[in-house]
Amino acid sequence: MARGGFLASTMIGFTRALARAMASEQIARQAGLLQSLDPRVRVIGLFTMVLAVMLSRRIAVIGALFVVAVIIAILSRVGVLMLVKRVWLVVLGFTGVIAFPAIFLTPGDTVAAFAGGPVRITVQGVQTATLLIARVETAVTFTSLLVLCTPWTHVLKALRAFRLPQEAIMMLAMTHRYIFLLVETAGQMFESRQSRTVGLLKGAEGRRITARSAGVLLSKSIELGNEVYLAMQSRGFRGEIRILSDFHMRSWDYLGLAAFLFAGCLSAWIGR
């Protein structure tokens, strides 16, 4: 298959999948572990976990954190099959592209050599690639859990409680709420491109079109963000989001917070 065609069809699959995954705010309203915690605890807790993943340099620790993420997912009614199909495979595809060259480019002990020497796979290269993929997979899993288990207005209010600047919050909120819409748009863009060019795109041409689409997508997302902000203003939003549910920290929430902080610090320390 032509490379452009392959790229485009992968993109279509990816965007469709992500669209469905992100649109499932249903999960956010079911009873589950994360859902039972105060949104502020969810935000801090999962952020701590992401940080721990990023700070850990040991694959075993990252593996353990991954297992923790899966357990949290199951207890929060996020289907593992859904995570496999809609998060893990997608991330693997994307990170794989970045990690793959590292296998060859990292200097170190040679495992196998090709083309008479210059192209070599090294132990260090394989380690670097594995670590990168494991890290991104685990971090994205924790992030997805937050996104899937928390209605965006709650995330917004929780972030506000941490006195984050208004602009930063709006940006995050728009990304959170509108990612699925953008992603759907991306999917449609690729599909319509695809149907017009019927897989005839090759190499450079394919890349150029992809780059241009990404540019269009970026400006679309900025525009969409602006529009939504106007729509919110029009209904009286003036920087401070107000929602019906009040946040209350109960002992259960403090317990959850302590557990997250403990697990995060511990793994960052062991994995250092």
């Binding site: 209605p151 709420r177 919110m232 209904r235 009286g236 929602i243 019906l244």
Partner: protein
């Protein structure tokens, strides 16, 4: 003393990064009027509505609401901003922009909550509005998963819950099938009663009669003509010039003739 008009625009200019959208537009809209903004794609309808809703401010010229200038400074004052936002409501052209909450209930409750109404008041107003709009059964559904007609009704509910004095509607029916279209128009009329001001942007001639007593035709960013619905609809030259109708050429044997063609339902989209 004479009541100031609801809206008064004087010589208003607006441009998007150098691309002019409004070009010396002046208009007055009185309280209780129902006005249609008629114009082809790109004639500046949405831009004008956003200026009326004080989301955009003109680069030149004045806009006032009930005699009070609408400026960024005025909207920075909490008291004025809240009362203006409660009194003037805009239903956006694109419902996916307008509907940003996780459920229909949250969507309708968003405005009242920003107005800092009490919890009881929010609950009762939201309940009553959902019943009026016939969307009570959609209460817990995510708005972006609804049909086009349902989305429009939720979008309407999300603004009329504040009981505004002025309703600004941007293409309220353009993407709807004829049945949902007449439903939405009925809802608007039922809500309007006699005292509300309703300003509707559209390029659908067939709904003008139902939604407006006065029509403003926008051409190239200014008011090209104004009159009653009947006057404007009868002015074929004007409609042709404003790209609201197109002439169809037919040949019958050797004779070629032209006749007007009114834009009808469902042929348009955005």
């Amino acid at each position: 003393m004479l009541m100031p008009p609801m809206f008064e625009l004087r010589d208003v200019y607006f441009e998007y990064d150098g691309i002019p959208a409004l070009h010396g537009l002046s208009v007055q809209i009185a309280e209780g009027e129902s006005v249609a903004l008629l114009g082809a794609n790109g004639s500046g309808k949405s831009t004008l509505l956003r200026i009326l809703d004080a989301l955009y401010f003109p680069s030149h010229g004045q806009v006032s609401f009930s005699g009070r200038p609408l400026t960024p400074e005025a909207l920075h004052q909490e008291e004025f901003a809240l009362s203006f936002r409660r009194r003037v409501a805009l239903v956006f052209q694109n419902p996916d922009v307008q509907l940003f909450n996780p459920t229909v209930f949250d969507e309708v409750a968003f405005g009242p909550l920003q107005m800092q109404w009490s919890k009881e008041e929010v609950l009762s107003r939201v309940g009553a509005t959902m019943a009026l709009m016939g969307i009570t059964h959609l209460r817990d559904r995510p708005p972006y998963r609804l049909s086009g007609g349902e989305k429009k009704r939720v979008a309407l509910a999300s603004v009329i819950v504040l009981d505004p004095d002025v309703l600004l509607l941007d293409e309220p029916t353009s993407t709807l099938d004829p049945r949902s279209q007449s439903q939405v128009i009925d809802l608007i009329q039922e809500w309007k009663g006699s005292s509300k001001t309703v300003i509707t942007a559209t390029h659908q001639l067939e709904i003008v009669d139902d939604i407006a007593s006065r029509v403003l035709v926008l051409e190239e960013g200014r008011v090209g003509a104004t009159g009653t619905a009947a006057e404007i609809l009868a002015n074929y030259e004007l409609l042709l010039r404003a790209n609201l109708v197109h002439a169809h050429r037919h040949s019958h044997g050797t004779i070629t003739h032209t006749h007007p063609h009114l834009h009808s339902h469902s042929k348009h989209e955005h």
